[in-house]
Structures are given as structure tokens and as C-alpha cells.
Symmetry: C2
Subunit: 243 residues, 2 copies
């Protein structure tokens, strides 16, 4: 009996990624984090800080996958419009969340950060109606979850803190996909024929072939992925025999 396969999408929100100013690090981190939980990252979109683009992307993917994650655009400045867009995508009002407000007010009135709890800082406590908080141990301002959408910060350290605070009850996964890598000092094209035959003979595995060029020499890494250990082992043996 085959177990449910859990799938997720990531929407990266930010002009700084699209302009090349910043190299995204969240995709790779989230992909591994999901993989450890038995959730496959199935699709990623990078969109600009543009309301219609964000709303369209969120509404396009949320019926397709179990979980949608977003990164970016939840800070205090004028270009932080993610919360507004998510509220609009769900057709609900955006409201001050009492618990988020309490935490932020406490933070700004404590010795940690003796500054004023300004109108702009209060923006960071707005959550679409019905949303629940995602805690942020690093800089307090929370992310939020509404439906199957998890809205997180773009700063990698904060995004990682938010993932740490998401328990298995909120992001439940299925069987983990295991993988094994076999490296060859051969051009990929030498293995292409037999690899196709092996893939055909082991349909419950995914066999990927990744050419590499190092010091002007062509090599290739073959990655075999499967949920079932026996199936994985059998395909790995067949690939190894090509060496």
C-alpha cells in the first residue's frame, strides 16, 4: 500500500533576488528541511515585490500542493507587502494580531531594544484574519500561517529560526526519500545508454545524472532516489556495475 506523498511549493518574494543583488539561500535550506520530513519540494517561483504578481503566484500554487511557503517581504518598510497580498489572496481582512502585538510591545519596552514601538514596527504584527503565528526566536517579529500557506522572513537566519519553530504537527510528512550518489570519472554520455535501461528496469526509483567539469576533466555523479530501501539498493547495485 503506497503512502501519501506530501508536496510543497516555495514562493520567494523579492526584487533583490531577481536583480541579482542577493543570492537566495532559502530555497536550498528549505528543500533539505522538507526532505528530512518526507515532504517533496515540487516547485519554486521567484516573484518581484509586486502585489498582483504575488497574489497570482500564491493563488496559482495553493490548490496544487499540501504546503506553500513564502519568504520575504514581512518587514516594517513600504516594500514589505507580503501580509497584505496574502490577506487579499485569501479574501480576508489584515488585522493586528493581539499576541504578536503583545510580544513586540514587550520587546520594544524591555531593555533589549529600548526604542519606540512605532507605527511601522506595529505593521509587523498584522496577520490575515484566521492566521496563526510562526515564532521567531531571533528578532521576535513573527511569521504566520493561514490555511496551507506559511509566511516567513527573507533573512536566512530568521527564516531558519521560523522553520525551527514549526513542529511536525504543522508540517506533517510522509515516507522519506532516500538517496545514494555514485561518482564516475567518465563523461556523462558514456553512461547514458545503460542508465536509461537501468531506469526503465527500476521504475520505483528516480535516477538522475549530473555532469561535472573539474580541472577541465569531465565526470558525472549518478544519484539514485527511492522511498523503498530494497528498491534503492537494487538500482544502486546496477549503477555501480557500470564502473
Amino acid at each position: 500500500m503506497s503512502e501519501k506523498v506530501y508536496k510543497a511549493a516555495l514562493i520567494i518574494i523579492g526584487d533583490e533576488i531577481l536583480s541579482g543583488r542577493t543570492q537566495d539561500a532559502n530555497l536550498n535550506y528549505l528543500a533539505k528541511w522538507l526532505g528530512m520530513r518526507g515532504v517533496n519540494l515540487a516547485e519554486v517561483r521567484v516573484v518581484s515585490d509586486d502585489k498582483p504578481a504575488i497574489i497570482a503566484a500564491v493563488n496559482a500554487v495553493r490548490p496544487l500542493y499540501d504546503y506553500i511557503f513564502t519568504t520575504g517581504g514581512i518587514g516594517p518598510t513600504h516594500d514589505d507587502i507580503t501580509a497584505d497580498c496574502i490577506a487579499e489572496a485569501f479574501g480576508v481582512p489584515l488585522e493586528i494580531h493581539p499576541e504578536a502585538y503583545r510580544r513586540m510591545a514587550e520587546y520594544y519596552h524591555s531593555g533589549v531594544e529600548a526604542r519606540e514601538f512605532t507605527k511601522e514596527r506595529q505593521r509587523m504584527t498584522r496577520v490575515p484574519q484566521g492566521g496563526t503565528l510562526i515564532d521567531n526566536s531571533l528578532s521576535i517579529a513573527p511569521g504566520f500561517q493561514i490555511g496551507n500557506v506559511f509566511v516567513m522572513a527573507g533573512v536566512p537566519a530568521i527564516m531558519q529560526s521560523m522553520l525551527d519553530n514549526l513542529g511536525d504537527d504543522r508540517v506533517k510528512g510522509g515516507a522519506r526519500t532516500m538517496s545514494q550518489t555514485i561518482a564516475f570519472d567518465l563523461p556523462e554520455s558514456v553512461l547514458a545508454g545503460p542508465l536509461g535501461i537501468i531506469q526503465h528496469a527500476h521504475p520505483s526509483t528516480q535516477i538522475g545524472s549530473y555532469p561535472q567539469y573539474r580541472d577541465g576533466k569531465a565526470g558525472v555523479e549518478i544519484v539514485v532516489r527511492a522511498v523503498d530501501q530494497t528498491a534503492l539498493d537494487a538500482a544502486v547495485e546496477a549503477v555501480k556495475a557500470l564502473g
Copy 2:
């Protein structure tokens, strides 16, 4: 009179990116390459090695932007299905391209790579009908262009070689967007109010705010972007005055 703004999308094809095995490097390189040519990268999608997903992504974005780039899936193995998908997306047959075939046959029969020009290697000479080659100085096997879609390799060094071989006649841009960065040793939220006012007063610029945490201290970089130098300078002056 305002000049045409050129826009592009990138489709990254590859399970290895989505599984977290590989950190993509092509988005950032292409974003900068396009920026230097006056083309804005407006959207990126990362899709798996799955025929319907690739075809759907290509057909969704190609009417929306001036240029579509794809990376990945054009090698010799069974999981390299990009050429097949592009042909299907355009509704044209996939054919051996005579010039690609000639080059590859010469390469494999030369002293450089004295190996057989196998059936699998010949796969790499298939181009959708009507497509033109994108040269690859590094490993010979070309990419191709059909309509506004540019199909390139996923290996960064080869992808970069292909971009080097794309002249300004094939990827024409408009006015370059210039940018200037102003760094502050302040939490982002301190600047949020005045920044919103400055953005409102300088509508032909885009002002982005990027918080950073280094050694436990909060700082922020403000990036002002504009096509017009005078507009850029005026907004930069206003931002600097906040320090």
C-alpha cells in the same frame, strides 16, 4: 518619452535543485547578465524533470515576457527531456540539427575526444524545428533558441559559455537600471517611516530595504534603483539625509 522596458523569465529545470542536492548558481548569474543589457528578470520558476510541469511552465511565461531562458536537462541521459518538452510546447517536431550534428561528429572523431559518437550523444543534436543554435565553446553540444525561448545547459560553466555566445542582436535590451546602495548601522524599522515618504516623493525610483544581522547587530542596506540618473541622485540624497 519612455523607452520600452525589456523583461525576461527564467525556468530552472532540475530535480537536483528542488531536492536541495545542488545550490543553483544560474539565477544570480543570469540576473546580472540581463541587468547589464537593460533587461529585467521579472520571474523565475524552478520545476522538476517532469514533462507536463516543464511544458506548462514554458507555455505560461512565454507570452508574458520578451525573453524566456531555461537551464538544465539538455544532456545525453534519460532524464534530459528539455528539448522534447520545448518541441511539444511549440507544437513542432524535434529533429537532428545538421550543423549541431556536424560539430559533434567532428568533435568525437577528432583527437580531443576519441570516443564513439553514440546514439545518446546524437540526442544532444536534436533541436525543435525552426530553432537556431546557441554555441557552447566549452563542451561543443549546443543549446538552442526557438521563438523567444533560449534553452541552455544547467552546468554553470557551460551556461555561462552559452550566454557569452549570445550577441546583442539576439538579446536586445533597453535602458539600464542603475542602482546605489546606502548602508546604515540601524535597525530597519527606524528608517521605515521616512523611507516610505521618500519612496512616495520619488515615484520613478524603486527603493528597497534589506535588513541584515551581523555579529548579533541589526543593520540595513537601502538600495535605490532607477533608469534616470537625475532621479536616482535625488532619491539617494534624500535617503542619505536619514543617516
